[in-house]
Structure formats: C-alpha cells, structure tokens
Symmetry: C2
Subunit: 228 residues, 2 copies
C-alpha cells in the first residue's frame, strides 16, 4: 500500500472501531436496563430495551457493510485483513450479547409483579458482573490490550460459579415454593442468559488477545482451567 | 468481470456452498444425535456430539477464510458480493445451531439415568421438528428456493407453540414432582435450545429469501403473523 492507502485504511478501521464501541456501549446499557426493568417490574423500560435492540442490529449491519467495502476497496493484507475480519466477528458477538439482554427484557412482563418472589434480588449482582465483562472486553478491543483481555478471560470462571450457585438457589426455592415454579423458571432462563453473555465477552477477549499477540489465550502458561 | 473471472467466481462460490452444505448436514446430525443421547442416556454419544462440534467450528473458519479470499481476489460486485457475505453469515448461523445441539449434549450427563423422568419422552418430537427446519432451510439455500424458504419461515410458529406446550407440561410436572425439579430444569433448557434452533433456521430462511427475491419474508402479503 502507498502512504495514501495506508492513511485511508487507518481512517476506515478507525470508523469501524468507533461503530463497535458504540455497539458495545449500547449492549452494556441494555444489560443494565434489562436487569433494572426486572427488579422494578418496569414494563416500559423492558419495552425500551427491546426497541433499542434494533439500533444495535443496524450498527452490526453497518459494520458488515463497511468491512466488506474496506476489503473490496483497500485489499488489505495479512495483519490488516485479520483486523477487519476480527471487527466483523466482534460486531456479531456484541449483537448476540444484546440479544440476550433483549431476551431478559422479554421475560419481564411474564413475571408477575404482584407476588414478587424473593430470588429476583440475587440476579442484579450477576447482571453487573456480566455487564462489567462486556465493558472490559470492548475496552480491551479498543486499546488492543492483551493483558486486559486476559483479565476478562479469567473472570469468566467466577461468573460461571455464580451461575451455578444461583441455579441451585432457584431450584431449592422452587422445591420449597411449588406455586412459584413458572415464575422462577423465567429467572433460571435469565441467569442462563447472563452466563451466556459472559461466555460471549470471553469470546471477544479471546479474539482481542489473538489479534494482539498471535497466540491463543487458552494456551497461556498458568494454572490453566480447562475450558471448552 | 471477464469470462475467466466469472468462471473462477462461480467455482469459488460453489466451493463455499459445498462447505455450508457439509456444515448443515453435520448440524442436523448433531441435533438428532443429541436427542438420541438424551432419550437413551447415552453418554458416549453425547460426548461424540461435543467432539464433532469442533469440525463444524473448523468448517465455519474455512468458510470465513475462503469468503475473504474471494472478496479480496475477485472483487465481486453487487449481487455476487451479497451472495458471498450471505454465505459467511449463514455459516455463522449454522455454527450457532450446532452450538445449541452441543449444549443439549452437555446436559445429558447431568440428567440422572437411574430415575428416568417421564417428560423426557416429549422432547424428541420437538427435536425432529427443529432438525427438519434446519435441513429445509439449508436445502432452500442450496437450491436458492424462495418458496421453500417461505415454508421454513411458516413452520416456526408451530415450533414455538410446541415449545410453549412443553414448557407448561414441564412446569406442571415440577409442581407435582418437586423432587425432580433440578432434572426437569435441564429439560426446560433443552426445549429452549430447540426453540432457538428453530429461530436460527428461520433466520437462514430469511437470508435465502432476501438473496433470491430482494424482498423481506416478513413483508409478504398474507395473514402476517407478528414476529420480531
């Protein structure tokens, strides 16, 4: 590439990163608002989360269009091409994360607000952990920060443990309060959605780490939790 | 494009379609085997489903590599570019479908085989419906068959109804048999995974329809079920 092309490419990729940052912010916001809607039985807020998801879908489509345009127009090689493809993949993961937040919001109207069940109160802490992972993963992407990506990866095991603990708590609650089972089943799905959000943030962290170092996070020298 | 380039492009896209067909076959197989593993408590088969998922991940990565290569090398325009990008997106959806099958397989060891619970018997029919949707969606893609894509789209509502009915059945079963709750919770997640597989098959159908007609399936003139 000549100097002009290099500059144009840098500007293009900068735009792509900007779009992904915007998506990440909206996804993080969607998680926080979905959890708020849940704890306050706020149907209007839940509806807003579902509505805002369209904007995230649009942004993903925009990332895709721009990425294809960059590849077709600039014909980037090796590292640059890897970065464009990574951007497209990360946008698709962020869209999936937002989808989980939307799914949480969709359950809010299904949970009766009149007989609020106590286990609702344990979910927001898990929601904050998941949203935090999403933010850190996107920060790592923006700063090409392999160390931050590794931290995100390490925080997935605690989130999984949290999920396991919530799962047990919810099942125990069901056993003791059989009339609440259908309500609590929704909470089980919500906890599972949060756990999946953490998995996807971990996927982003893996891509960022690989893009920055050329090595796979899972292969790092350390205690090495077995993950799939 | 000159004649040589056109031929080369056709051959490239043919290869891409071949890879996606292979992925689709494996995904369909994974769903069937995961459900078989579940009903027979066959841990070895469940482990095989998890193992085979790697091949599907590899194929998705291969589709991505080839798609990027085609775009960079042949610089396809308009319709052709739309087709390459659609192939990449469909591969990613098929990978997600296979992921759900893998998630089902992962639950098999968590469901005690000694005290088999009756509701397990209602899931295979839902599994067959979901797998059938995946096959039809991929057939529609291979044949660029908009009518077949529309049929897949129409079959998503019955699958959703099936899911709702299973959800109610499982919750009723939990209420009546509180000691089985943690077992039945796994079945709830499995039913949900099958419902999501149907959603993704529907996504594929939407992409096939759009690629073939330039119109959105949801905008067709007909009774018009409200979907999101």
């Amino acid at each position: 590439m000549n100097e002009h092309t290099v500059k144009a490419f840098d500007s293009d990729i900068g735009q792509l990163r900007g779009l992904i940052s915007e998506m990440g912010g909206l996804a993080e916001d969607a998680i926080a608002k979905a959890m708020q809607a849940l704890t306050r039985s706020d149907l209007a807020l839940a509806a807003a989360v579902r509505e805002n998801d369209r904007r995230i879908d649009e942004l993903e489509a925009e990332v895709e269009r721009q990425a294809v345009r960059i590849i077709a127009l600039r014909a980037p090689l090796a590292v640059d091409l890897r970065e464009v493809v990574a951007a497209m993949k990360i946008a698709s993961v962020v869209e999936r994360i937002a989808d989980y937040a939307k799914n949480i919001a969709k359950r809010v109207p299904l949970i009766e607000s009149e007989h609020r069940i106590e286990p609702v109160s344990i979910l927001p802490a898990m929601g904050r952990m998941a949203a935090e992972m999403v933010r850190s993963a996107l920060d790592a992407f923006a700063a090409r920060d392999a160390a931050e990506a590794a931290r995100v990866w390490d925080s997935d095991a605690p989130l999984d443990d949290f999920y396991d603990s919530i799962f047990r708590t919810l099942v125990t609650f069901m056993v003791e309060n059989p009339t609440t089972i259908s309500q609590v089943a929704h909470l089980l799905f919500i906890a599972k959605n949060l756990e999946r959000i953490g998995d996807h943030a971990t996927n982003v962290a893996e891509m960022v780490y690989f893009a920055a170092t050329g090595e796979h996070l899972a292969d790092r020298e350390r205690g090495g939790l077995e993950r799939e």
